[in-house]
Subunit: 180 residues, 2 copies
Amino acid sequence: MISKRDQILDIAERGYRQGGFAGLSFRDIAAALDMKSASVHYHFPHKEDLGKAVVERYTDNLLDNLGAPDAADDSVKIRLARLVEAYRAAYAEGESSCLCAVLGSVSPQLPPAVQEAVNSYFTRLVTWTETALAEAPPSTNLNAAHIISALQGAMILSVAMGDARYLDEVAEDLTKKSGV
Amino acid sequence: MISKRDQILDIAERGYRQGGFAGLSFRDIAAALDMKSASVHYHFPHKEDLGKAVVERYTDNLLDNLGAPDAADDSVKIRLARLVEAYRAAYAEGESSCLCAVLGSVSPQLPPAVQEAVNSYFTRLVTWTETALAEAPPSTNLNAAHIISALQGAMILSVAMGDARYLDEVAEDLTKKSGV
DNA sequence: TGATACCTACCTATCGATAGGTAATTAATA
DNA sequence: TATTAATTACCTATCGATAGGTAGGTATCA
């Protein structure tokens, strides 16, 4: 049985990804869970608290899925394939953008705690990717910022165009290049 | 002398880029121009009208700056450098994301006319880039969707991290690869 | 005189947030 | 073990602020 707190986080994550931080209200969440907005405030007093919790859970889940970036029995290619697949799976849930692309694109306008959580998402993800690429030969024409940027941008293109092919194309391109 | 209509578009473009479509109100715009919100409605009756006009002007300005994608006296490298520079310049204005990354990431939640305008931005930009790359030798490991995605994503990373180096790094990477 | 570009004044809907209360569960104590 | 104290998870009702939008008036100028 999923706790009410987790149900709120689920709704909020979906809502933020689809409509941005300003696009989802306490009342929207309450209505989706058949409760009152005051009860959502019981679990998360301020909107900033909710946003921070959503982003932190989202970050932890992604890094869990990615696994260790330096496991001895994985090749660079396999690690990169896991990263690409994580983004394709994220898009597939409701054909929506990455939470941290939506929030990060308007970062200066977010409450400080949410800003910091988004910053931490990218910091951790860049670190993971740099580590995953560490053993790649110099001929591999890939760097962490480029890979993450391309995936984030491709998700937005696919959402804006209503067409998964943009993400598919970039995903294939990145995977191909990682073959070395 | 800049018309009031254009002044409104200027404020709205900056505001949407910094805070998203829901993050800028008619009152915000009016306050910035020392007028009343009802007067903004005189120029743009509905928020949808304003959003559409902002995106269309933004798109036209970008394509004007890029110039012809098939001018005989330009190399692929020069064309791509123009594209990359356009994005760097856009970021430099207020260290903010691309308007159509901010809006496109939450496209399904936007009013239909704004959705269509954003869709048109990406359609026209992809077409421009494909044409610009048409003469590139097959060894050039670049395709239009990949280039645009990487630039869009890199802007978001830079905004979210408050650090221009992410965009700089990706820009250099793309420019280098276009050298052939 | 009629169009243009504003204004005042207002409406309805919704926002995040708070106060104060209640039933059910759990922990601590006599 | 029975009673009491706290805690959990909600509720109703309301707050001040703000959202997009409108009706109708006014000053300016061709």
